[in-house]
Point group: C2
Chain length 514, copies 2
């Protein structure tokens, strides 16, 4: 069935919701995926326990460096760690003990409460690509991203029901000053979408600005008591957290906002070339970083993150969609569940320069394991191209179509009497045809996923319509979505206050472009 | 790592095998995948038992038609079924009882014993696309298939180590007479490959010719006691077996050759629009067809087959790569395992007219579930395009690359001391780099899958090399493989006898083109 399916009941149920979905498919939708199929788990308990023991050894004997952050080192010392210079050695069990205050799942609030997402448990939240300096579309080709592109991607993510989240740096707006662009990015997420979003992590004061803008939007007390931002804190693998990331981490954790502690791994360069070795390092880094959030504010929501790919052993270039990182994803998800913490990984990752078959093969090699493996928060779920260097308009549309299918797959099988359809088998009988039978007619609208961009027509019809490939059809669709885009209402007082905040911050310091 | 990886030890082990693989990657390979990761199973026992009970109800109350085959009806009557006209009603448990003589797994012998495949258990065998009347390549576009194309596809499947099987009708050679082309097809599989292959099912005498050619190749007694052919018997869903398929079935089962009993389902047309309803019908059809093989010859190898997709509820056109058929695949695999019988389904299916991103998305939506769901025999694993109307040269190459990755993924995680890589983590330490470390150097060749066609280079390098998409690179590769193709040795006496058999058969009757 169509995209209307992914916009299922919301807070209305049954016939009403289906009727509403038919009438206006953009108004009713599921805010995130609730998985009802079993997990795929590729490691047995013995392997998981071995990895945990090895990670404990790494944490104790090798340690993790917390660089250029005296406060972090003092916090670790006071918590009982053995701090030698910038190297922190963790007594066995310390990180796990600290993590007992971290929630197993949490709600990230959106300014539209119907868009709130629950991160953790059996839920999966899809967010768009994060971080590319370039954008690409069919006509414009590859070029540096601008704030206009950024706003377009926010608008498109808002318009695509299979994206549950507005994301963060959907592309880098390189036309804006480095020290101020975070203001326009956060502002765009607030202004052009009502889905949950991410804050800036490139400097502590930019993180603080992100929190301050949320305080204007949600109220100061609400922000202190609730999670309204989720923020990506990458480890500087192997075994290092740098002062930039630590600075942002501290701001967010102390503001009770969520952090995703993500070892960023290209295996073979930043971790060993093996799956188990990579998982060991990921677990050690994630444990140390996540535990640190609880030193900053016990109870602050934190997500076990993993970005893992591998490199070409010929060229050193990152590769995507290969089997070894898929195994890392499955294994890391299992390790996170054993910690009873939410897990971030996966997406629609690829190395391809074009939204071609390579891009699709590689993306699906990551996306299906994302769903089968039980990832809770998925950055880069749509729009990622060229190893994350490019945000692609067409790929955003193509990926969103796949994401919509993931919701159905994760929803599991209907075993109700209607699902069993014995009446249909009886009615049709041997040699008959099901198209016209009563059961088919009754289930016509909800029976099958209906892609807005896949072509299933006859060769002759497809040829007569121009013989387009998938990116060409996706191109038409994003233009249509942008043309039809309508901004969600925003309280005028809050809008004004946000404008004033951004203007004030911009006026306070000169532009910087490095 | 490279394709050399999929050509692992063979009968030589360790260092020797690796050395051989480096020197000549076409000589050593794994003949099929042995899965060492857990299965993904989406249905619980209660759902499976309900489907089994419903299928029993269908078999008993509605029944299955065995059309225009008096012998089949008599066999069923004698076995205790209630035969009314062509409609056979099965007392509860009859089919399952009959199936107790069917083997849970079996070896299909190839003329090169190193290529023998075991079908069933935790094994997966990949065979190329089956049945398309058209072929497509980048320069020639879409056109009717010829025997020259057929031979090319056999040669390419022989050259691609991730294809374990030569398949059957890799494309329809429409330039040959309908009543004789099976001779040239079987001959091509024997002559141009030494992998296992499939026999003709389009008429009983063509099935008999296929067996006769195998008797020349393997010896009459060997064929009677061993499986050398696997053959695709489609149900005429819903709930019908026709005389053509029954005729071929009887020939093969009585010759102790394997049959794949495959309900061929486009859900919404040939089965109910629901997953459970479709599974119920599939199980009923498969049980009846498989049990019939045991009436023909108890102990004859038989495979539970499922080809299931769905249709567009707008146009009636078949769709591929959507979530509902994926759920059918997972469920049918579970049902087959509960019967302790081998299972056939899946592949790299797509509706796309081009080897573009749609083709790749759709193919992976089927292929990954094929592996995670535990399919034992996979037709259409490579080369399928346009809903099975087209055998694509480029897609064959693209799919084979994905199949090679499936072998690694299915192989599971290395938990050995080398796999744990603690020494590497110690050696490199915080902030270091793994590329030069001893562990990386020692595992350099086998660390990561190396695609022969994916591009992971920098944008600049890719652009300088022509900015090719994946089909363009695949085009170069199939031409290279064909140019380098060398036929496997065939005993001259057998070759001569086969030539004589084919010539004699061709001379015996006039050509027919319908």
């Amino acid at each position: 069935m169509s995209e209307a399916r992914e916009k299922s009941a919301g807070r209305r149920g049954g016939r009403d919701a289906r009727h509403a979905a038919r009438k206006d498919p953009t108004t009713v939708h599921a805010p995130y995926i609730q998985r009802r199929i079993p997990l795929t788990e590729i490691l047995d308990d013995a392997a998981l326990e071995m990895i945990e023991a090895n990670a404990d050894t790494v944490l104790e004997e090798i340690g993790i460096e917390f660089r250029e952050d005296e406060e972090a080192l003092k916090l670790w010392h006071d918590a009982g760690a053995d701090v030698q210079g910038e190297r922190v050695h963790f007594p066995k069990g310390l990180c796990r003990t600290l993590l007992q205050t971290a929630p197993s799942q949490f709600v990230q609030h959106a300014r539209n409460p119907a868009r709130n997402v629950t991160i953790g448990g059996s839920n999966t939240v899809f967010a768009p690509v994060y971080g590319p300096p370039f954008v690409r579309d069919l006509e414009g080709g590859r070029r540096y991203g601008t704030i206009a592109d950024f706003r377009n991607f926010v608008k498109l993510a808002y318009a695509l029901p299979s994206l549950h989240h507005s994301g963060g740096t959907v592309c880098e707006p390189v036309d804006l000053p480095v020290n101020k662009r975070h203001l326009d990015m956060v502002h765009a997420h607030i202004r052009y979408s009502d889905k949950p979003f991410m804050g800036s992590v490139t400097a502590p004061d930019r993180a603080a600005d992100s929190v301050a803008m949320c305080e204007i939007l949600f109220g100061r007390d609400f922000v202190d008591q609730n999670t309204v931002l989720i923020n990506l804190i990458n480890a500087n693998s192997p075994l290092v957290f740098d002062s930039t990331m630590l600075g942002a981490l501290k701001v967010y954790a102390r503001a009770n906002q969520a952090t995703v502690i993500s070892p960023f791994i290209l295996a073979g360069a930043m971790s060993p070339v093996t799956v188990v070795g990579t998982l060991t390092q990921i677990l050690a880094e994630a444990l140390a970083g996540m535990a640190f959030t609880q030193l900053c504010r016990p109870g602050a929501p934190v997500v076990f993150g993993t970005f893992a790919s591998s490199i070409s052993m010929q060229s050193g270039a990152p590769t995507f969609g290969t089997p070894e990182p898929t195994m890392v994803l499955f294994g890391a998800a299992q390790l996170a569940r054993r910690l009873n913490l939410p897990f971030r990984s996966g997406g629609s990752l690829c190395a391809s320069k074009l939204p071609d078959a390579q891009a699709a093969f590689e993306s699906m090699q990551t996306l299906l394991p994302t769903v089968f493996g039980g990832v809770n928060f998925t950055l880069h779920a749509a729009g990622w191209l060229e190893g994350g260097l490019v945000s692609s308009y067409e790929k955003l549309i193509m990926d969103a179509d796949q994401l919509a299918m993931m919701e159905i797959l994760a929803g599991g099988v209907d075993t109700s009497e209607n699902g069993q359809a014995l009446s249909a088998i009886r009615e049709v009988g041997p040699g008959g045809h099901y198209l016209g039978c009563a059961h088919t007619q009754a289930n016509f609208e909800s029976a099958f996923y209906r892609s807005p961009i896949a072509d299933n027509n006859s060769y002759e019809q497809w040829d007569a319509e121009g013989g387009m490939d998938l990116p060409q059809r996706a191109n038409k669709r994003w233009k249509k979505l942008l043309a039809e885009y309508q901004a969600p209402d925003l309280d005028p007082g809050k809008a004004e206050a946000l404008d004033a905040f951004v203007a004030g911050k911009k006026a306070a310091v000169p532009d910087a472009f490095v």
